[in-house]
């Protein structure tokens, strides 16, 4: 009888895709976002801004700081600073204490199921400290190691330093007690997410843009190119444009606006601003402004698709004749954007078109030059294959027209070569592709022989990460 009614859900998971889930965790830390989730899933369970809040209690020398993590706790507060644990220039960890706490927060607090804790410790009986936000777990140490069950795969920038890598494995093994650990570079994982073992990965992220050649699942170190031309740089361009706009546009983030009345395009805003009984720190304001700018990027900014540069004669006239886009600021002021929305992003491709901003860039930092440099740094025999397998990833690559422009630039640079760009259409895939690649990798049956096990770490020390995660 039972053979006539096979129940599909009780069958062994099929190994068709080579998967073998071992409930591993995957953590991808970027300058803008930190993403964490379970291997084998297609989106990270938890995506937090890499910015965190630092609350000050007490005054002067007696002041103590408490870090709070999560988007929902980045709100106007007294004595509150917003910080980032990553370095702006490198997209690698700068503040290790904050990084550890941040990661613990995402990996343990957000991903792990709540374990029953004794009532004395479960916090229910304590006086409620603040009511909002998540509190960093100070008492991680005296618990049983929190990640003793889960292998952990983490990502890093391809130019990460050896010291930083050793530090990471130390934290994972010593503080969290991971049974197994692996460190992989973001472009490699982005290539995996695109289903490629060899690719030229163009990652246009938050703080940096990087171009890296991947061969057989490994980074070709000589090809790594890095430039500050990323999301934040583009934000700088937008600010510069707003500053020089006529009329000058004041950046008023949403949190400052209590109410607004609609006004005509170009008319001055009519809004009532909120008053706070305490001082709002500049860092918080900048963070909030960045949110606004990102919104503008997402909805207005576009990349001139080519062929040729935007500054070529005639192009701007074409754009002017086309319908523009209206953007309404949180305070109600609004304006139509036409040619400007192309001009802001042009600096990524053509350094002469970049608007004057705090960060000026050189020719070598533009995306086409990065690609050229990266391709020239690999063996000739690999180049055709790389150009036929270009993967674009990173949040800023979601700009409208980015892929088309890139294709046009490449065609102009390498005429007669076959150029194929892999650009996932799903925004999640583009934003999380490094995480996704990690998720795929960590759930592969063949990957399990790669993990650095606890024993190996104990025998060889932190240096093993350099030897194994090449």
């Amino acid at each position: 009888m039972s053979s006539q009614h096979p129940l599909p859900n009780t069958q062994q998971p099929s190994d068709v895709y080579g998967g073998d889930e071992v409930s591993a965790l995957v953590l991808d830390a970027g300058y803008c976002h930190t993403r964490a989730g379970f291997a084998g899933e297609d989106v990270p369970k938890s995506v937090l801004p890499s910015f965190y809040g630092s609350l000050k209690t007490g005054d002067g020398d007696a002041a103590t700081y408490r870090d709070i993590f999560g988007d929902e706790c980045l709100i106007p507060r007294a004595d509150f600073e917003v910080k980032n644990y990553m370095s702006r220039a490198e997209s690698i960890v700068e503040d290790w204490d904050a990084a550890t706490k941040m990661w613990e927060h995402v990996l343990i607090k957000r991903l792990q199921p709540e374990k029953p804790t004794p009532p004395s410790k479960n916090g229910l009986n304590d006086p409620v400290p603040d009511g909002e936000g998540d509190v960093a777990m100070d008492d991680v140490e005296d618990q049983e190691k929190p990640l003793a069950e889960s292998p952990l795969l983490m990502t890093e920038a391809p130019w990460n330093t050896g010291k930083a890598r050793e530090k990471v494995i130390e934290i994972a093994m010593e503080s969290w007690g991971c049974p197994a650990f692996w460190l992989s570079r973001t472009p490699v994982l982005a290539a995996f997410a695109a289903g490629k073992a060899s690719a030229l990965v163009i990652d246009v992220g938050g703080a940096n843009t990087s171009v890296t050649a991947i061969h057989d699942g490994m980074v070709l170190k000589r090809s790594i190119q890095k430039s500050p031309v990323g999301g934040l740089w583009l934000s700088g361009q937008i600010r510069s444009m707003w500053d020089n706009n006529d009329p000058k546009i004041d950046i008023v983030p949403s949190y400052m606006v209590e109410n607004k009345t609609p006004v005509d395009a170009g008319a001055p805003a009519q809004a009532k601003l909120r008053k706070f009984p305490y001082e709002i720190s500049q860092s918080f304001r900048t963070y909030e402004e960045e949110r606004l700018v990102t919104e503008f990027k997402e909805s207005v900014v576009e990349v001139w698709r080519g062929p040729g540069r935007y500054s070529n004669p005639g192009n701007e006239d074409i754009v002017r004749s086309q319908p523009g886009r209206v953007f309404e600021m949180p305070n109600g002021s609004n304006q139509m954007w036409r040619e400007q929305r192309f001009r802001v992003s042009e600096g990524m491709w053509d350094e002469t078109a970049a608007l004057p901003a705090a960060e000026s860039i050189t020719k070598a930092q533009t995306i086409p030059e990065l690609i050229k440099a990266a391709v020239n740094a690999v063996d000739v025999d690999l180049r055709p294959n790389l150009l036929g397998n270009i993967v674009i990833t990173g949040g800023t690559s979601l700009l409208n027209g980015f892929g088309d422009r890139l294709n046009n630039e490449l065609m102009a640079m390498y005429p007669g070569m076959k150029i194929k760009i892999h650009a996932p259409g799903l925004t999640t895939e583009r934003r999380f592709s490094a995480w996704l690649g990690g998720s795929i990798l960590a759930s592969l049956g063949t990957f399990h022989q790669m993990w650095i096990s606890r024993k190996e770490y104990e025998e060889n020390g932190a240096g093993i990460v350099e030897k194994r995660c090449k």
Binding site: H5, Q12, V380, L444
Partner: protein, 617 residues
């Protein structure tokens, strides 16, 4: 809440709007209820009869065959591909019965079981995919005796091999990560300078920059040499040898050049690329045209040329083989006549392919010979030729068999082509033909013939029975036969003459007259006997002369004239005979003996003629 209120809430118009939708619904075919006559159903009109069918199967299945839910467990497993076997990851697997039981029994026991448990763990099914690349290794001694290089230190070679192992021979990665820093000189490390110099700030001698080709050529050099050390070239299997050759012949210069070309090709401009594309198309067109031209030319040649056989012709060298060939060709001819229309373009037909089918086999010999040769060559070291000349070309497909060409007289002679009217069936030996002539004779005659041959110094069994020799031998034997016959006859006549003489003497004693009539009678008898016994042409000569002499002389005293005449005649005949046989025999016997024999033959025939003349008298 009435529908009116709902509309109000949803801000819908108060009438219409929703109605048409309802009406539409009626058009939708109603689910037909089983077990209810159509007429009955139609009674309901637009409003279907509200009968809820009883579906029992759903419930039945749900509760009827219920099995306890499968148990799943988080089961640890090991991975034998790992260096470190202590890592036991866990995955969800369906629990089997016995495992559930063992777990229950084990749950009460302590950790002593733990050790043995790790042995029982399943291995990961993916462990088998872990393949290792085989990287040659060398000892210090081997390095010093074989691998020392002017450009590479042992240290750097070690470093290279380490990288090769780490990156499983993926050259782009090896080159990418190649960062060899030569060790600081000895004295700097342990000498007096060590104190003053921080080893990190000390100036390191910079390693020479290595191109990918440098790395490859060093690796291949070492790998090839180590291969030879492990197994000398002559014992290598074919793939091993090929690998060795490939590695030993790695040419970094050519590689570099090729890469330069490749990078040039990449960095050309759009116009150049387009131009090149056009040129390529042009080249392709030219090549195609050339191909067509060649094809046409080949066809033309086929029509003009005599058959160029690619096959072994040894099968046709014997007369039997030739006969079959002729048979085949005649068949082809016949079929050709029959379907000359179809044949017009000379396409392969079964008949024309026939001879080449038969010839397919002899090819095996040349191959094996070739192989033996190549094996012999391999031991001396160069086996490069193998690839090219391994197989004698076998016609890829059987082309149209060209029509046979008529041979001229001379060619026929050269190729030994003979036309027979009839052939005995089956193969025969030529000397058998000679033997047959001998064995058909009576024993005494056989004896006599062999005696005669012995007299002539000719072996009764031919050493070299070529066609010509056999023919001459046949003629000789025929002559001998004639000779023997003639001798027999002459002996008989001699005896008769003797008898007659004795009678005559007796009669003379009694009565002397009537001499002439008797002599004429005897001459007549003589002529008759001649006509009976002789069929060879050469003896007719002697016959006529002797007849003439008999007529002329008509006397009892033999004329010396006639006898000499006969002798010269016979002599010239037999000489001609001997000459004919000479070319065949010359190869076997020394020339002098053949001369002797010739002489002896002529002498003999002279003698025999003389004796025959003597008879006549």
């Amino acid at each position: 809440m009435a529908s009116h209120d709902v509309r109000d809430v949803l801000n819908l118009p108060h009438d219409g709007a929703a109605r048409p939708a309802k009406k539409l619904k009626t058009n939708v075919p109603r689910p037909s209820l089983k077990g209810l006559a159509r007429e009955v159903q139609n009674l309901g009109g637009d409003n279907p009869i509200a009968i809820v069918p009883e579906i029992s199967s759903f419930k039945k299945r749900r509760f009827g065959s219920r099995k306890p839910a499968a148990r799943w467990e988080l089961r640890p497993f090991r991975n034998s591909a790992r260096d470190d076997q202590s890592l036991h990851l866990r995955h969800w697997r369906k629990q089997t019965e016995d495992q559930a039981r063992t777990q229950e029994s084990q749950s009460g026991e302590n950790g002593a079981e733990q050790e043995s448990k790790s042995e029982q763990l399943d291995d990961s099914t993916f462990a088998k995919f872990n393949v290792q690349v085989d990287i040659p290794q060398y000892s210090d001694d081997q390095y010093n005796s074989n691998l020392i290089s002017r450009y590479w230190t042992k240290d750097e070679t070690d470093y290279l091999f380490g990288l090769v192992r780490d990156f499983d021979l993926r050259w782009p990665l090896i080159w990418d990560r190649y960062e060899y820093k030569p060790k600081p000189p000895e004295q700097a490390r342990n000498g007096e300078g060590a104190g003053s110099m921080d080893p990190r700030t000390a100036v390191m001698p910079a390693g020479r920059p290595r191109s990918l080709e440098d790395l490859k050529s060093r690796y291949y050099e070492v790998a090839a040499k180590m291969m030879v050390v492990q197994k000398p070239v002559q014992y290598m299997t074919q793939p091993e040898f090929q690998l060795h050759e490939m590695m030993a012949n790695f040419n970094p210069v050519a590689e570099t050049q090729r890469k330069k070309f490749a990078s040039d090709a990449m960095s050309r401009s759009r116009e150049e690329a387009q131009e090149e594309e056009l040129l390529l198309i042009e080249v392709r067109r030219i090549l195609a045209r050339q191909e067509r031209l060649n094809q046409e030319r080949r066809e033309l040649y086929h029509r003009l040329d005599y058959p160029q056989t690619e096959q072994d012709i040894s099968a046709f060298k014997s007369s039997a083989g030739l006969a079959t060939l002729l048979q085949n060709l005649m068949n082809v001819d016949k079929t050709k006549k029959r379907k000359s229309l179809m044949e017009a373009n000379g396409v392969n037909t079964p008949a024309s392919a026939h001879p080449s089918d038969r010839l397919g086999h002899p090819n095996s010999t040349p191959i094996s010979e070739n192989r033996r040769e190549s094996i012999a060559a391999s031991s001396t070291g160069h086996r490069d030729s193998i690839g090219g000349s391994e197989r004698p070309e076998r016609p890829a497909k059987k082309g149209p068999q060209p029509a046979p060409k008529k041979l001229s007289e001379q060619e026929e002679h050269i190729y030994g082509v003979v036309h027979h009217d009839r052939l005995p069936s089956g193969p025969t030996f030529r000397y058998e033909r000679i033997n047959k002539i001998l064995t058909t004779k009576s024993n005494a005659q056989h004896q006599r013939i062999t005696n005669t041959l012995a007299e002539l110094d000719i072996p009764s069994r031919l050493n070299m029975p070529t066609r010509a020799v056999v023919e001459e031998m046949e003629k000789l034997l025929a002559s001998i036969g004639v000779l023997l016959d003639t001798r027999k006859l002459s002996d008989k006549l001699d005896a008769e003459i003797k008898l007659e003489k004795a009678k005559k003497a007796e009669r003379e004693k009694t009565m002397a007259p009537a001499q002439t009539g008797k002599a004429a009678e005897s001459a007549k008898v003589n002529g008759d006997a001649k006509k009976d016994g002789v069929n060879g042409t050469h003896s007719t000569n002697g016959d006529s002369t002797s007849a003439a002499t008999a007529e002329k002389t008509n006397g009892d005293v033999p004329a010396t004239n006639g006898s000499t005449n006969g002798e010269t005649n016979g002599n010239s005949d037999t000489t001609a005979n001997g000459d004919g046989a000479a070319p065949g025999d010359k190869g076997v016997r020394p020339g002098s003996s053949s001369n002797n024999r010739k002489r002896s033959v002529s002498v003999l025939s002279g003698i025999s003629d003389k004796s025959s003349k003597r008879q006549k008298k």
